[in-house]
């Protein structure tokens, strides 16, 4: 470590005592953050990363017990009394939280909540405090700072609220800022802007940072060094680049392999999944926490276990990530390039043209879908990507029949199904199935798995006999690798991943031809997401069903889909084969979207396109291109007045933009999802 650490945690243990048993949250955690250094902490849900920052700030619930040292510039916070801690909280160590909206008091103005920090910690008068607040807000590129100060939290957008929270943390010039998943709740483009700001402020105020997240891509963008946590322990800690390139701990390697990332496609690799699930850690457990699920475990895992400096500045609790004595179970498929001419045979199953869907009363009509047309072939996956409010879920709901379209036609396998489910024939109902985002809410909590999956068979396939249904349920469960004992369990007794797999089983139990997946994996952890994605790919092979896969995560879309459709404010921006849209995007919005995608490989560099402001108000009628307001390659006033024409780049690839096709083709930059290969492997520090 170059400089003397701002914060040093030594051997921190935290456990929660419930009435029946005690649960270990943190075990023997040792970390250090140098001056003006950014430490990223990665871990899946339940690994104790949130407990870490509560422990540091001494904000643990009364049932928790804490031991070990937390040295902040030398003095140990662990011994401080709550009164003394108030001096540290806010002025020495500041916090930024996950959902900005709920971290701001709804009935106090933004100005008041900013001023109270500087008034309290630095004894400023209200006038000076307000002045300091306005200055800090302008640091965060907020336009009308004086206006915002007078407003209430519910009057500003999500991205804006998170900048206010960051400003609140900055106002007391902290030495250390701890950020707990600050951008998870935001859109990709806004997230990129916020991450840039954090990076910029770190250097400007030479603060040190602790950035906690479950998403490696986001952490890479901000942190110099990264710690990987698993089941309340730090299993690996080192330089950002080496953690990705040469992880020492099998868990880190498996975690990275689970994540869809640039260059990983369903055609050439099967995502690595980690068998089993994260179980609670009781006080008695010793040895490596990952031993139950590790494919590289051997006899040494119990005794020889402990953090060791494997390489200079790189610690790990194990070094068998690439051990060869036990072969890798999951091998990447042969990495052949996708044969050029081998598009899947054209057999369209779904055709949508001129689909409109409006919400709300005449005056304030929200135009969720503003003229969408597409065709979908059997046995293919259409990835629909776009930011929140772009109408992708609405499209999924109208196709699956939850909602009736306001105007336009949906032709499925020859029959017109542009009506709500009530008027659809049983065959159509059987043919189209929907998988929801939140697994916990899509299964009826008071039903057993057996009758959850059995009900559609009885209702739509008319299989009367119970034994027949049970037999089918058992083998569909096997397909989603859930054992027979799951028949009698209720959703509450299942983990997130198991519930989603059960939902998939329910959808496939009646062999649908079209499966609409509305962000099925965004609520899941990386390793669990991988198992669901693999499941979807395998099931498509033998059922031949078509998928409409809706997501805001471009990596997942890029991995799974054959065709990609990018939507913005209810309209299509760009449509084409995966290789075309992700490989060489044409539409400025797709470019901006791709450049904002955080990638697992830190060395990957992407274009620096940042979109300012927020999408326009959906209730207003838009004459020109909806993206005109924020477009970084705006041609001129024509973008605002006339709707962009359709520009065809190949018979499957088109976009709606005023920029002439020649200019668009000429500037094919390497801004695709593969990004620019790092110049050379920088030497690993």
């Amino acid at each position: 470590m170059k400089t003397e650490p701002v914060l040093e945690i030594k051997d921190l243990d935290v456990s929660y005592h419930t009435l029946t048993d005690t649960v270990v949250a943190l075990k023997g955690v040792s970390l250090a953050v140098g001056k003006n250094e950014a430490l990223g902490i990665i871990g899946e849900s339940g690994c104790g990363k949130s407990t870490l920052f509560y422990a540091i700030m001494d904000y643990l619930p009364v049932t928790a017990s804490r031991s070990g040292q937390i040295l902040f510039k030398g003095d140990d916070l662990a011994q401080k009394t709550p009164k003394e801690m108030t001096k540290y909280r806010g002025s020495k160590i500041a916090m930024v939280y996950q959902n900005p909206y709920s971290s701001l008091n709804p009935s106090l103005t933004i100005g008041f909540q900013l001023e109270e920090v500087s008034m309290f910690h630095h004894g400023m008068s209200r006038k000076d405090a307000r002045q300091a607040a306005v200055e800090t807000l302008s640091d965060l590129h907020l336009g009308d700072a004086a206006g915002i100060v007078r407003r209430y939290p519910h009057q500003i957008s999500g991205g804006m609220q998170q900048r206010i929270c960051i400003a609140m943390a900055l106002l007391c010039k902290p030495d250390l800022m701890i950020l707990d998943e600050p951008t998870t709740a935001l859109d990709v483009t806004t997230e990129a802007v916020i991450l840039d700001i954090i990076q910029e402020l770190k250097d400007k105020y030479n603060m040190s940072l602790i950035y906690i997240s479950h998403d490696i891509g986001v952490v890479n963008k901000v942190s110099d060094r990264i710690a990987v946590m698993y089941r309340s322990e730090v299993v690996e800690f080192g330089n950002q680049r080496t953690i990705y390139k040469k992880p020492e701990h099998p868990y880190t390697r498996a975690l990275i392999n689970c994540m869809p990332r640039a260059g990983v496609l369903k055609e050439n690799t099967q995502l690595n999944t980690i068998p089993g699930y994260v179980s609670r850690r009781s006080a008695a457990e010793i040895g490596c926490p990952f031993v139950a699920r590790c494919e590289k475990k051997n006899a040494t895992c119990e005794e020889k276990y402990g953090m060791v400096e494997r390489k200079p500045g790189h610690f790990a609790a194990c070094d068998r990530a690439y051990a060869t004595d036990i072969p890798d179970k999951v091998l990447a498929k042969e990495k052949g390039a996708i044969p050029e001419g081998s598009e899947p045979e054209h057999k369209t199953i779904l055709k949508i043209d001129n689909l409109y869907r409006y919400y709300g009363p005449h005056g304030k009509r929200i135009r969720a879908l503003d003229g969408v047309d597409l065709t979908l072939d059997r046995n293919s996956v259409l990835g629909v990507v776009g930011e929140s409010g772009c109408g992708k879920s609405t499209m999924g709901h109208t196709v699956s029949g939850l909602m009736r379209p306001t105007r336009g036609k949906i032709i499925f396998d020859g029959t017109d199904i542009s009506v709500s489910w009530r008027k659809r024939s049983p065959e159509t109902l059987r043919d189209i199935q929907l998988i929801f985002q939140n697994p916990g809410r899509s299964l009826n909590p008071s039903f057993t798995i057996e009758n959850i999956i059995g009900r559609p068979m009885l209702k739509l396939l008319g299989i009367k006999s119970k034994q027949e249904r049970r037999k089918r349920i058992v083998d569909i469960l096997k397909k989603v690798d859930l054992g027979e004992e799951y028949l009698y369990r209720r959703p509450k007794q299942l983990s997130g991943g198991e519930m989603q797999r059960a939902a998939v089983a329910r959808a496939f139990s009646i062999a649908p031809n079209l499966l609409v997946c509305d962000e099925p994996t965004s609520a899941l952890d990386a390793s669990v997401q991988a198992s669901v994605l693999n499941l979807l790919v395998d099931l498509q092979k033998d059922s031949g069903a078509a998928y409409i896969f809706i997501s805001h995560d471009l990596n997942v879309i890029n991995y799974l889909s054959d065709y990609i459709m990018v939507m913005y404010l209810g309209r299509i921006c760009e449509y084409g084969m995966k290789t075309e849209v992700a490989g060489s995007p044409r539409h400025p919005y797709t470019e901006a979207l791709l450049s904002a995608v955080p990638d697992v490989d830190p060395s990957l560099k992407r274009g620096e396109i940042r979109l300012q402001g927020a999408p326009p108000n959906p209730t207003k009628k838009i004459k020109g291109c909806p993206f005109a307001g924020r477009c970084h390659r705006k041609v001129g006033s024509v973008c605002d007045t006339t709707p962009p024409p359709r520009v065809n780049f190949s018979d499957t690839h088109f976009a709606y933009c005023h920029i002439s096709p020649e200019v668009l083709n000429a500037e094919i930059s390497v801004k695709g999802i593969e990004g620019i290969e790092a110049a050379a492997d920088e030497e690993v520090i």
Binding site: L19, S400, G401, L402, W421, R422, R424, P426, L429, I432, Q433, L434, F436, N438, R441, S442, L443, N444, P445, S446, R455, P456, K459, L460, R506
Partner: protein
């Protein structure tokens, strides 16, 4: 089921509430048959004797009737009415609240308007106006009237419970399977609203006891000589100085029963609400 018992063991207040309630229920069921005196027996030589005198545990009232046996017998009528009322109003509430909440649109708005109007008259006033005119009524009459005045409140709760479930995805999943409305309402949603509904029934149980006692106090309770705790209080109100026990013990009986049920319903709401 055992989780409930486990939690019960840990909350002394709930146990206290439950034991008092069970005592009253036992008193109501087998009490009258064990008592030395009937509730109407008049011992004219011992009019208004104090508690403990002349073999009367809680003394006698102006007509020489044993206060203790009248209270025990009174528990039978007040418990039956309260039980019937809370069940009746809850069932009616569920049906109305569910239909209104589920179908939404005009049905829902009409329902809300009607509920507002019915809730505008304080339930006690509504019941009193009707009972006041019909004169003293029987257990059945009282039950029906009190249930009607309470149905708006339970309907509103049932509607609320339904709306929270209706927005969840498993209902959408059921819809696109083409399930019928009735199936969705009573097979998919009802089991998940059991929590708030049970809480409402127990709370309603406590409120109806208070209401029945108050109606009795206002002189529109049960037809004498059936003992009605509220009536016992108003009948002996003028004895408050001469024979305070004739007023105090019925009041304490009402208080103990209502507190017991409130303690238990408080426990039920804690367990039920944070469970789902």
């Amino acid at each position: 089921m055992n989780t409930y018992l486990l939690q019960l063991k840990r909350s002394p207040r709930a146990i206290a509430g439950l034991t008092i309630l069970l005592l009253w229920i036992i008193a109501a069921l087998i009490g009258p048959s064990l008592l030395p005196y009937t509730y109407t027996g008049m011992d004219m030589n011992n009019q208004m004797v104090g508690p403990g005198e002349a073999g009367h545990l809680l003394g006698t009232d102006a007509l020489g009737r044993d206060v203790f046996s009248r209270i025990i017998y009174g528990s039978r009528s007040i418990l039956t009415i309260a039980l019937l009322t809370s069940l009746l109003s809850s069932i009616a509430g569920i049906i109305i609240g569910f239909t209104a909440g589920y179908f939404g649109g005009i049905v829902d708005t009409i329902f809300l308007r009607i509920m507002d109007i019915l809730m505008a008259i304080p339930p006690l006033v509504l019941a009193m106006v009707v009972l006041g005119i019909l004169g003293n009524s029987t257990i059945v009459g009282l039950t029906i009237i009190v249930s009607i005045t309470y149905t708006p409140a339970t309907a509103r709760v049932a509607r609320g419970a339904l709306l929270t479930c209706k927005s969840s995805e498993y209902v959408d999943a059921a819809r696109i399977r083409g399930e019928s409305h009735l199936y969705i309402m009573f097979v998919e949603i009802l089991p998940n609203t059991i929590g708030p509904v049970i809480v409402e029934i127990t709370a309603r149980f406590a409120y109806s006891i208070m209401m029945i006692a108050s109606l009795g106090f206002l002189g529109v309770g049960l037809q004498p000589p059936t003992p009605d705790w509220g009536m016992m209080v108003i009948e002996n109100k003028s004895l408050i100085r001469a024979a305070p026990w004739t007023v105090l013990y019925p009041s304490l009986a009402i208080a103990s029963l209502v507190i017991a049920i409130s303690l238990f319903s408080d426990f039920v709401s804690k367990v039920m609400i944070n469970e789902d």
